[in-house]
Symmetry: C3
C-alpha cells in the first residue's frame, strides 16, 4: 500500500518528518522535494570500489549550472526527512525525466528508520542547465509488513549533507 498525499500530511510529526514542509508540494500519492545548491563531483580518473574516492564541491549559482553527460553529480534534497513505520522511497518527477535527468542510479529504495537528507545521484543524457530550488524528485511511502529493526547503519544515518559512497568500508571489516 502506498500512502496517499493526504495520509502523508496526516502522518507528519508522528511517523513522518519532512522539514521544511509546504502543502503545495503534496501530490496524489507522494510529496515533491527540492534540490539544494551544493553538488559533489568525483576527482578521480578511475573510481575504485575499495577506496575513498576524492571529491570536489560545486555550488549551483543563481543563473544555474550546465551538467555534462559523462559526469556523476552528487546532490542532495533541501529537505531533512525521518521515517518510521513506512518504507520511504525516492523517484524522479516525470518533468525531470523528460529532460533526461536521472536523480538516482538504481538506488531510490530507502529503509524504515532512516533519518537525514537524501543524497541524489544526478546524471544527464544530454547537456542541461539546472537550477537549485527546483522540485527535482518525489518521496513516497510503502507500508512495511510485520515487526522490523529500524535502519541504523553507521554510514548514512543522521547525515548533515551530501555523502559520497562509503562502500570501501565494506571491504575493511
Amino acid at each position: 500500500m502506498i500512502l496517499s498525499g493526504k495520509q502523508i500530511k496526516d502522518s507528519l510529526g508522528k511517523d513522518i518528518v519532512i522539514e521544511p514542509f509546504n502543502e503545495k508540494q503534496i501530490n496524489p500519492n507522494s510529496y515533491n522535494l527540492k534540490l539544494h545548491n551544493e553538488l559533489l563531483v568525483y576527482d578521480e580518473e578511475v573510481l575504485d570500489m575499495k577506496k575513498p574516492n576524492k571529491t570536489k564541491k560545486l555550488i549551483i549559482p543563481e543563473e544555474g549550472i550546465v551538467l555534462e553527460p559523462r559526469k556523476l553529480y552528487l546532490g542532495r534534497t533541501l529537505e531533512y526527512t525521518e521515517t518510521d513505520k513506512y518504507v520511504p522511497m525516492l523517484e524522479g518527477r516525470s518533468s525531470i525525466g523528460r529532460l533526461g535527468v536521472f536523480i538516482h542510479v538504481t538506488a531510490g529504495f530507502g529503509d524504515v528508520g532512516f533519518k537525514g537528507y537524501w543524497t541524489l545521484e544526478i546524471f544527464c543524457v544530454e547537456p542541461i542547465r539546472i537550477y537549485s530550488g527546483v522540485e527535482i524528485c518525489q518521496i513516497y511511502y510503502h507500508d512495511v509488513g510485520g515487526d522490523y529493526e529500524k535502519y541504523s547503519s553507521g554510514k548514512y544515518q543522521n547525515n548533515k549533507g551530501i555523502q559520497p559512497s562509503l562502500l570501501y568500508k565494506d571491504f575493511i571489516n
Copy 2:
C-alpha cells in the same frame, strides 16, 4: 500490495482502462505495453530547465531505427490508460533492459487518477535498432492507502500523445 495479472483483468472497465487490451500481454503481476511509432528528440545544444526546449519528430519505419547512446528519445505507449483506486507504475521488461535500453529516466512512478498515454524516456547504453509495436514496458498497480485526491495537473493529464517536459511552467508561477 501489487495487483496480480488476474486482478488487472478483473478491474478492466471499472478502476482500470487499457485500450487496446490483449490477454496475451498479461503477466503474473503486470501487463505489457507496446511502443508507438512516433518519437520526439530535442533540438538544442544545451537543454534548459527554465525554457520550452525545441523538439523534432521522428517516425520509426517498418525496418526499425537505430538509437544512438548520447541521445534522449521521447516515445509513447500505443495504449491509452486510465487508473482510479490504484497507483499505476511503469517499468521496463528484462528482455529490453538486457539490451541496455532504458524506458524511463527515474520517472516510472505514476499517480492515481492519471488518464492518457505514457511518455517514455528512451536512452540506450550501446547503439541499437528498435522496432515500433514491440512490447517495450509493463504497467503494474499498487493499492493506495486512505482517501486521496486524484491526479489533475494541467501538464500531462488527458494527453493525446508524446509530451516533452513542461518543467519550465514551474518557474513561471
Copy 3:
C-alpha cells in the same frame, strides 16, 4: 506492503529461497545480494532487437576489473532465489549508486514464481574498478493481491547463469 528483514528470514524455506543465505546481509526491509565473477558483454557494432546478439564472456579477476562508461555488462547474482506468494524486486544499494553504477536498466521488477539467478544489467557513468563478491544490490518483496498465475515463461525461468536478451523470440511467434 514490503516485507521487513525479519519477515524475509521467517519466510525462508517456505515462500522464499535465497541460497546461499547469510544473516549479515539482512536489512530493515530487504536483503543484500552479491556479484558473481562472470560477466557477458555484447560483441556487436549495433545491437538489434530482432536478432540473437553475439556475446563474449569475461571473468572478474581477484584484483577487480575496470568498467568503461559506454558499455553494457551483463552480470549475475551469486545467490539463487525462488519466490512464491510475493513479488520479488531488485534495486541497487545506495553505496553502489553513489559511485554511478547502475545494476539494472529499468528492469528491477520481478514476477511471483520466478526461480533462478538474477541477471544484472551493469552500466557505469564514470570508469570504475569493481570486484566480484561485493554486495551489489538488494532484493525486496511486495505482497501480491488476489489469486495469480506463477511466472513460467520459457525465457528466463530456472536459468543456470547470466542470460543475454531473448527478445528476438518475441518476433518469431
